[in-house]
Symmetry: C2
């Protein structure tokens, strides 16, 4: 006879890792509202509102915009599965864990993958991506990670979009950590497929993956000869989220939709430029303070995201031990390096509701206390 | 400039359609607990508890049991994508919308699909499934819908499992509407892949798809030559949910996991036989009352699920109008027929927290009031 576990009592945490961050109070409260069925006319009206709010967040007026009921990784898979057919060539900029994941998924889909690599913490120069395109003129898709969650590096996406304008290749961007935190303009920059998540700079709980698909990407999807995964099928999702009368596809995660609605409302009410500024202010303050303590930041300064800082672990310091003491003694979550090939680092995020100087100060003061107990660091400082 | 929508204010609903049902209060309250990160040691402990609770609910002691962050349909897709390789033969029992969906997804995966059809509301006789297996001895997988959500028909699953024992074909069962509501014994019945959802008889909000995979299905998966979809990859999900130290795969929907934990606790505390009895009592009471009003039930009596009743719409009655008035005048959601080929029906569910006679009585009394306004029915009665 298995023992039945007790009711859960998770401890309070300040979530300053690479995400999730603490949920915006309004988004969290919305999840206690009465549950509607997934075909309820009142819910269908809410879906329409969520889409109009997502269009603001993505700055995307055309194409198809909707949230998948999925993680950011499913958003990545949805994009690759819709925009690539077996044997087609895709060029992928790889400068961290999530670029590698794009390579892995594209490979599973039978695509011919051309990697353009850069070191962890560096960005992938657009010139090298365009060079790869010269060498593979039949490439159907180019993928970059706008905000590499494993390093804190930001891709110069506007410039890449401009350089690709008028060319037949589609542009896909991983915006999991960028949406709502730094400038992102799907229309103006010519992004054909952007995917993100709900739990980082948007400020909702983890569980949704908003995507934005351009009209020319939709035309490409219409012309496919191989089927796409049923549960990610954008045509069927369109018929539920947008077509009226709505056609059932799956039972939508209604409470997550409530939370996303409220979180996106906050994004719109705050205004994107103000929100981007707030993330910039908190992040730059934090990064300045980190450097002033003699710590090094992984990403190159010109391509450093404000909302996510990868701090190099000083030699001789117990990386995991510091993370654990931050959590256990101070109730603060920070992240570690992602995957076995990552350099030793802590990943510290100031995102969404947590993108504030007072939160940065709480993290810094706990980090100071914890590092004092590390002989290797205390000795060096 | 898009107008920013107001904060959401969904109305109260008694959810007695085919699901979601009203969330158990304890499960809903759990979603307000402090959010933990997806790699937090305290969350990882909770994952382990969720799995031990799921094993109780599924009566599955071996193999792999975990909840996908996905809808029931993604659970269906995960099963088919793991257990079929292109060109392999699958036998599918089809007696409603969800059997058809299995056919559709298996077809997209390149499988050779053998359909065994029965009319809507009928069950697919096991003899006919076994006959199909005689004719296609190389079939790798047989799929049936334990509880056909589009009709309320129940498959004699225990008997099918017994008949297939010792044969090389795997058995997959759609348990979306059955888990937690009627007898289901994955181990004893020899089910190789069961998938379900969180929002019906389990009593949690929509957003998770618990699956149970047998050891021999896992061996089949290990021997695959074609890759599976990355976001549904059970091997990678195992390494996050079960392997310790956990390996990151995706950012888990933490609040949904909280809710599922509490809902499954309630299942375990109530005890499966008591919970099945409660669903049986409420459902049989409701069905008796429906018939006593001169209304007909779609499913054949010997294979009628207690928790979901498809009521035939009497001739001349405005099916959609009745549904709308139930919703608008009485705050009660009931479902309609699913898909254009469904017979005209209302689908009424008494599931999870709502599987009670007092809820059944509220539905009946509202239905009486609404039907009185229908001249065709009022005249006939």
């Amino acid at each position: 006879m298995t023992q039945i576990p007790s009711p859960l009592h998770p401890p309070e945490r300040l979530l300053c890792g690479p995400g999730p961050c603490n949920v915006s109070p309004a988004a969290l409260a919305a999840m206690q509202r009465p549950l509607l069925g997934h075909m309820d006319p009142d819910l269908l009206d809410l879906l329409t509102e969520v889409i109009s709010l997502l269009r603001i967040a993505y700055q995307a007026s055309g194409g198809l915009v909707l949230p998948l009921q999925a993680t950011g990784t499913s958003g990545m898979e949805a994009g690759l599965a819709h925009l690539l057919e077996p044997g087609e060539t895709v060029i992928v900029g790889v400068n961290g864990f999530f670029g590698r994941r794009i390579v892995e998924i594209a490979g599973r889909l039978g695509a011919d993958v051309v990697r353009v690599d850069a070191d962890w913490g560096q960005h992938v120069p657009n010139d090298r991506l365009l060079e790869a395109l010269e060498q593979h003129p039949g490439a159907r898709l180019m993928c970059v990670v706008h905000a590499e969650t494993s390093t804190g590096a930001q891709h110069p996406l506007a410039e890449l979009g401009a350089a690709l304008r008028g060319r037949d290749v589609l542009l896909m961007a991983d915006c999991v950590t960028s949406l709502g935190g730094v400038e992102l303009r799907v229309d103006d920059w010519g992004i054909d497929f952007a995917y993100s998540c709900s739990q980082k700079c948007v400020g909702a709980p983890p569980g949704m993956s908003p995507v934005a698909v351009s009209d020319r990407a939709l035309a490409r999807i219409d012309a496919r000869t191989h089927p796409v995964p049923y549960s990610l099928d954008l045509t069927l999702l369109h018929d539920y989220w947008i077509k009226r009368p709505a056609v059932y596809h799956h039972t939508a995660p209604v409470l997550h939709i409530y939370a996303l609605h409220e979180a996106l409302r906050e994004v719109a009410v705050e205004g994107l430029p103000a929100r981007w500024d707030r993330h910039m202010d908190a992040g730059r303050f934090f990064q300045h303070e980190v450097r002033s303590r003699g710590l090094q930041v992984l990403a190159e300064p010109d391509h450093q995201l404000p909302q996510l800082t990868a701090v190099r672990v000083p030699e001789g310091v117990d990386a995991k031990g510091v993370q654990t003491r931050m959590l256990r003694q101070h109730g603060i979550e920070i992240g570690g390096g992602l995957g076995p090939s990552a350099p030793s680092m802590w990943r510290i995020g100031l995102m969404g509701h947590n993108a504030r100087r007072d939160v940065a100060e709480r993290v810094l003061s706990a980090l100071d206390a914890v590092l004092t107990e590390e002989p290797a660091f205390a000795g060096a400082a």
